[in-house]
């Protein structure tokens, strides 16, 4: 089973607030892979809006997304595309 990690700088100008967090989770939930998001010392479930919000990831903060499972590559590709949008 592939495990894919990616370190990303949040581009969204308001950070990962409620709406992008919900979009992130909607994408994450399409995949079978276990998805985690890490910021500083916090590691949260990438399929939980509450988890993502807990990170309080502002614009410019650096997070690590990791997917573990057979669709890990596709999951990371789609999640990264969302995080790199700067709207």
């Amino acid at each position: 089973m592939p495990r894919v990690k990616k370190i990303i700088k949040v581009k969204n100008k308001q950070g990962l607030h409620a709406r992008p967090a919900a979009l992130f989770v909607q994408i994450a939930n399409k995949f079978e892979s276990v998805i985690t998001v890490k910021k500083d010392k916090d590691i949260v479930n990438g399929k939980s809006i509450m988890g993502i919000l807990m990170l309080g990831a502002e614009k410019g903060s650096v997070i690590q997304i990791e997917a573990d499972g057979k669709d890990a590559y596709q999951a990371i590709t789609e999640l990264e595309a969302l995080l790199l949008k700067d709207e």
Binding site: H17, A18, R19, A22, L23, M50, E58, K59
Partner: protein, 156 residues
């Protein structure tokens, strides 16, 4: 950020009456008006802003929690109301579950940073299942404040 830094003590509603999203939002906005956190003459504008935000996507974040929120020119500082519903409210959640804990958050325009920090604090506060159960079991506002204060104290 501590919850009690922005949660209005007088805007804690233990028995949310309505089971409809729109009515619950109005109930909590009225609680903030009664607590003199916002002005009554801005009620409709603020309610509209909150409902407009819900139209973009539900603010239910899972585990029976919703955090309706909006930025508004009629709000001077970050402020929140808390409602507990025993019967559950249909908040159009992604997981389709009703919500029981509703944190309504209002922020001034151009306050992305504090707003994000407040959302993070609320999520951190409510992530624990036992805490959520304890919160729902509170019989009065004072016990809710005590419970939240205890969690706030754990933050260094």
């Amino acid at each position: 950020m501590k919850i009690m830094d922005f949660l209005s003590k007088k805007a804690i509603v233990l028995n949310i009456k309505s089971t409809k999203k729109e009515e619950v939002i109005k109930e909590l906005v009225d609680a903030l008006i009664n607590a003199e956190e916002i002005e009554k003459r801005h009620r409709n504008k603020i309610v509209d802003a909150l409902l407009a935000r819900e139209k973009l996507g539900s603010t239910a974040i899972g585990q029976g929690i919703a955090i309706p929120h909006a930025k508004s020119e009629y709000v001077e500082k970050l402020v929140a109301a808390l409602g507990i519903s025993s019967s559950g409210v249909n908040f159009d959640a992604l997981d389709e579950e009703p919500v029981y804990i509703i944190f309504l958050l209002l922020a001034p325009q151009d306050s992305a940073g504090p707003h994000l920090k407040a959302l993070a604090s609320i999520s951190r506060l409510l992530k624990d299942k036992y805490f959520r159960e304890n919160l729902k079991a509170c019989k009065d506002e004072k016990s809710i404040i005590n419970l939240i204060n205890q969690e706030d104290e754990k933050k260094v």
